[in-house]
Symmetry: D2
Subunit: 253 residues, 4 copies
């Protein structure tokens, strides 16, 4: 049994710090590094990539909408042609940073509102994966199981990686409970860690209705930008190790 741990990193911007990237890099096996459109100035991206490379953490491009003021969390109705170019631009920029650090970008994970949009929006999903395929067909696409994003990526023959969220409540149908509902986001490290183990070892989780739902994921997302994030991530890693789960990055081309 093995699982990948991924987290959003490189999200500082200029004078503004966000998250504890170095601490998180000691926990995760895959780093979703911001690409400058929703967060991440070039110096931060370069340093984060170098730190990831030094620890053998795999680097992914966390592409987002061009919206610094909204941190990429607000839906932006970008034309697919423009979104494709925006993703390609971010991907190339981050790959330059990764290569300067002695590594390279291995996968792409959309951020924030774009992540949510490409769950269902076919044209935006197609734009993202077309940019990925245009850049490098050996890149993987990381996203929500059942999303348009992963479906479109498979159509283009790209490697897809499904992820699950140990700190999010699931419905009996296997969907994430809406963030705005009470209890949608878990905060107790021990409970989150137990769910991570359940997901990694049984491929399942208890839904809010109390049923067991299947969660087939090669990667677990842990958050890096909230209070107590590092502590939770360490609890997840520790519990997985104790349960005999091998924590390592998913295979890429």
């Amino acid at each position: 049994v093995r699982i990948d741990l991924n987290a959003d990193l490189g999200e500082s911007f200029g004078a503004w710090r966000l998250g504890d990237d170095e601490a998180m890099l000691d926990v995760v096996t895959s780093a979703n590094v911001a690409c400058g459109f929703h967060a991440g100035d070039p110096t931060t991206l370069k340093r984060t990539c170098a730190q990831a490379a030094a620890r053998g953490v795999v680097i992914g491009a966390q592409v987002g909408y061009r919206d610094l003021a909204g941190f990429g969390r607000r839906y932006l109705d970008v034309a697919p042609e423009d979104l494709e170019a925006d993703v390609l631009y971010q991907l190339g920029a981050l790959d330059a940073m990764a290569r300067a650090g002695g590594s390279r970008v291995r996968y792409v994970k959309p951020h924030g509102a774009l992540y949510n949009a490409v769950v269902a929006a076919e044209p935006q999903a197609a734009a993202v994966v077309t940019a990925v395929a245009d850049y490098d067909r050996s890149l993987a696409v990381l996203g929500l199981p059942g999303s348009a994003l992963l479906a479109q990526a498979r159509v283009l023959g790209l490697r897809t990686v499904a992820e699950a969220f140990a700190d999010r409540a699931y419905t009996a149908a296997g969907h994430l409970v809406d963030r705005r509902r009470e209890g949608a986001v878990l905060t107790e490290p021990d409970r989150i860690a137990r769910r991570a183990v359940e997901m990694a070892t049984n491929g399942s989780v208890i839904s809010v209705e109390g049923t067991i739902v299947a969660v087939n994921a090669e990667s677990l997302c842990v958050h890096g930008d909230t209070a107590g994030a590092v502590q939770i991530a360490r609890a997840v890693r520790s519990a997985l190790t104790d349960a005999g789960v091998r924590i390592e990055a998913f295979d890429t081309g």
Copy 2:
């Protein structure tokens, strides 16, 4: 006798158009394509790179200060570490665009105030060429003869290309006359074309003092963003061809 013709392209941004890129791509052999920091949205950059590639025009990364409102024409006192990361970011982003169009970035030319800064500012010049070398040692660096930029590029073993300006007045010492002085910028197509031929065939030009000054350049810069720019560029190309000069891109690795 051969010479390269280069021009700044891809400088539109969103709804704002600048210059006639397609017309200029039929004239030049090297395109200094903007990289998004001083100008150029990703869709424009992608299209411009594809158009350049389709015509066999060599693509260069026209890196600049992060200053859209100032079009990169205002000096910005960026720390060398940040400038290095900024250049690397732009270079990778544009290379992704060039590769999507079936080509790749072959050289780097700083834009605007950065171009002027790296004539003398050693730390900024070092930052630019370090980023270039970190990205790809086969890239050439295009700049002003005698500049710190070209000197530092040679120190790192990079290919350097010196350029001259057929539409700018030169002093007897071989420097450009300050833009703000009257007569510093020529506007008559015929006169500019004659100077281009003189530069390409004799390696010289008549200074404002009336003396002959040596101008050793592998490339001539023609402007694309002013009124009558395309007409001037065509006059230059036509005069060079009539004089038996081979117009082709400089060799790169």
Copy 3:
């Protein structure tokens, strides 16, 4: 019979020019001046306001989404609280420019995707008009007849001004034909001018179905940023004058 003519102005940004503001200011009676979020650098805004003031053209704040790359034409899912602050910020900034030019902002007109959003989106409409009322209750709100924007403005006791488009096709129900449908946007100056006269004198226009539909508008919008825009605007003004229509700004507090 009287009518106001309004146009979007001040939409240049840095090195990028858009439209012929001075020519349009000789035609219109109300200037929707950009506020820097979708277009308009401060120097442009200051100059445009001064030019409008010098001609007695009334100044309105053309507020938009914070999206320079998209020119405010892409829907952005801004939280109402943030939109309210964004509008207030833009309004204050432009009013400073207008006052430096000896005038002041008299009305607010949303731009682009925000204009379209507040036709139906109650929370975004409420955010815009709350910002207007917080700033100055004597300001008018200019928008589409029947829009949530004008309804919400009336709830707050603000002066509302409905506008019509002489260059757009209308359905029998009195709605604008979708821009993407053929024939949705008219381009012949004479035909546009005749429709403007019909709108101003009869309060009606012929729909695409051939029926007569009522168009009650105190202002006609003429476009300033397309090819031939100035010519069309002049034709409209000239035809209105010939028909005995008084062209003057709507009354404000």
Copy 4:
């Protein structure tokens, strides 16, 4: 004996938090609120202004260069005409926020690299104060004693307020020791507090050479964005109060 305490506030941006504005607002009498160019999104500015107004803290416009990535700390060679418009824009925007909170902008203090530039750069200093005078002649200008900024403000008849820094080392000539020199910035709360009292009561401070130098300041700047900033600010306030100094905002028109 009385003194004003001022601090930079409202410098968060979108998802990025900076400083503890509410805690600082309980300490200072004047808030230099960012205006969106170097920091501060509209929602943050609106909230900070409302919080300042609720506590009776005077609001100043902390205008800066248009450089979010550099937090306004990098010199930008803006043309005076553009700087004047940039300052006017920021001033109007912040005043709208202050007025929505029931207060208004009472003074202007340049930020970061602009603050440093207008110590000596006459054209940039003139641009700033011209914008201030154009907006509202009753506004005060806060800056370094002996600066071009204050000199130019006096020429225009504007109220000037000189400030001192209790946490900065001074030379015998009364200048600030360069930040990059060791010992230039003090960090011990007690020592900083004692210097604040000395400045407020005696109008002097001990220089790095050990001499007593005159420091005539109506306001003391306390920093809000560093570790321990709130603690230092509280120590300063407490020591001043214990020494019988009245802590209140400087008079404005």
